[in-house]
Symmetry: C2
Subunit: 285 residues, 2 copies
DNA sequence: AGGTGCATGATTGGATACAATTTATCAAAC
DNA sequence: GTTTGATAAATTGTATCCAATCATGCACCT
């Protein structure tokens, strides 16, 4: 429901930014058909439909919802995790400001947080783009996950209350319905939330935050490196894990988590650290 | 992209080096600071009159240093880690803006990052204050450190090159001189940097970032919970660790790191899980 | 005297205006 | 036809401005 309108060739610019930096030339070559300025400001149909009046007028006439920068951050993050904003997409401040009916200030704040968490990458005077983690960074993320999450699973298995198990089961049910109802873009954030929920149940506030970052980065990695057919978050790893937790079988929970993460990582196509392009960038650094 | 990667040869490397240099200069020089005008009460009206031409005038006549928001963040963070800004200190935007000779905008950005990392805590419409982690949060931080850092030490021990060992030794020398020259407030960030350096040598860019957060939080925790006499980062834990790394004794390195962290944590007075708010109030008393 | 409400000051939250920079476009020269 | 220079457009970066909010203190009423 967002930007796909007949604006200035948006999908094209989205694609063109995929390889940030060196690929500008290539990108411009691929987008030669795009820049039709004829459809300039006439895109006001969208704005007119939802929130045509300016801020002043809006305040005077009708209070339109003004999301906080937290909500904006949340919305953008969700869009990224649902693969609606693929890596390389530029997050243009003014555009987002209009979409959310706020000023650029709040959008900048939200984007700043994304950049801080390396979900987006800022290029000075150019803009912020949804990050494209390198395969090395992807390996780093999974190394951290294999390091942290089995211990988390063990910890939760040792102290899990029936209520907590019920929470986990409820989440798994959500995953199941999303999967069976064929909503693939909802599965990815849901699967991530399962791991975050586990961190929450462990009660360690710092690791909850860390898991949030890891999960959002993992979502990006899956888009970039997923083998087409492989299904990343497989059938019933999560239910089995909850079974072990319910049985307070800490060792098995940790083991299952480790296997689960290994399975996800191995279903990706992470090439060895070759990276001609990366070397190119380092040269100009 | 990432500003943390030690081995990811990117723009990050250059930037990183610059940052380290700047931080060192701050630490040694103590900077600052002609407190500009003592005429704080002169209101924004007059300021506006003089400020508008300031940009051009300053450039024309004399280039006053205009730190980036990165540098501002760095400086505030250093001040916090050196215990110059204790927990509970309000970070007043306009005051800092004057100190750094920038507008509030950049300061806000820097403070926003501190809040995001929970180094500072924002109270809506009131301001941002240096955080006072609860004892529970302190335990969470040390749990995470015990979870992550022994593995980091093991990893570095397995793959350490002579150059890397030399880096570690050089850092230990800095710690030693700071300790013997009786500069206690320099010891704390230096000790933290040792652990960050270890993460950098491991080559995992994500864990470098995580360690940064952990170390800055640890600095706050030490201020709040340190037993007066106990010396947190003891005598020669770090040198022994480097010895083990140099000998490629991975198990011993991991074990030493774990003991080191346990020692630091046990030298704190973290009461059993009660009364986070009570601690908070006592701090502000 | 003591509590309650209102004015005041200080500070943040948010929006706008403007400057700086980069990219794209186009015309002219070779 | 290709290259090159100038110019325009788009976008970010920064400063300033105004409104909203909270604390403080003073006056006023009981």
């Amino acid at each position: 429901m967002n930007q796909d309108g007949a604006r200035t060739g948006k999908a094209a610019t989205v694609k063109e930014a995929k390889k940030v930096g060196a690929a500008a030339k290539i990108a411009s070559g691929t987008t030669k058909t795009a820049p039709v300025k004829a459809t300039r400001k006439t895109s006001a149909k969208k704005e007119a439909g939802t929130l045509a009046p300016r801020t002043r007028a809006a305040r005077a006439t009708k209070e339109v919802k003004q999301p906080s920068s937290d909500e904006i951050h949340e919305r953008i993050m969700s869009a990224i995790m649902e693969h609606k904003l693929p890596p390389g997409t530029q997050l243009v401040e003014e555009r987002l400001a209009r979409i959310f009916n706020v000023s650029r200030t709040k959008v900048r704040e939200a984007i700043g947080r994304l950049v801080h968490d390396q979900i987006a990458t800022n290029i000075p005077n150019r803009g912020a783009f949804v990050s494209s983690p390198t395969s090395q960074e992807a390996r780093d993320v999974f190394f951290a996950r294999r390091l942290i999450e089995p211990t988390l699973a063990r910890s939760v298995a040792m102290s899990a209350t029936p209520q907590q198990v019920a929470q986990l089961r409820a989440h798994i049910k959500r995953e199941h319905t999303a999967r069976s109802s064929g909503a693939p873009h909802e599965i990815i954030p849901l699967s991530g939330e399962f791991h975050i929920l586990l961190a929450q149940l462990s009660g360690n506030s710092f690791l909850v935050r860390t898991l949030r970052e890891l999960e959002s980065l993992t979502a990006l990695i899956i888009i970039l490196y997923d083998a087409p057919d492989e299904h990343h978050c497989p059938y019933d790893d999560h239910p089995l894990l909850v079974d072990a937790i319910e049985a307070h079988d800490a060792d098995r929970a940790a083991e299952l988590m480790l296997r689960h993460l290994e399975h996800v990582e191995h279903s990706l196509k992470l090439e060895p650290p070759v990276a001609g392009e990366i070397d190119l960038e380092s040269v100009f650094a």
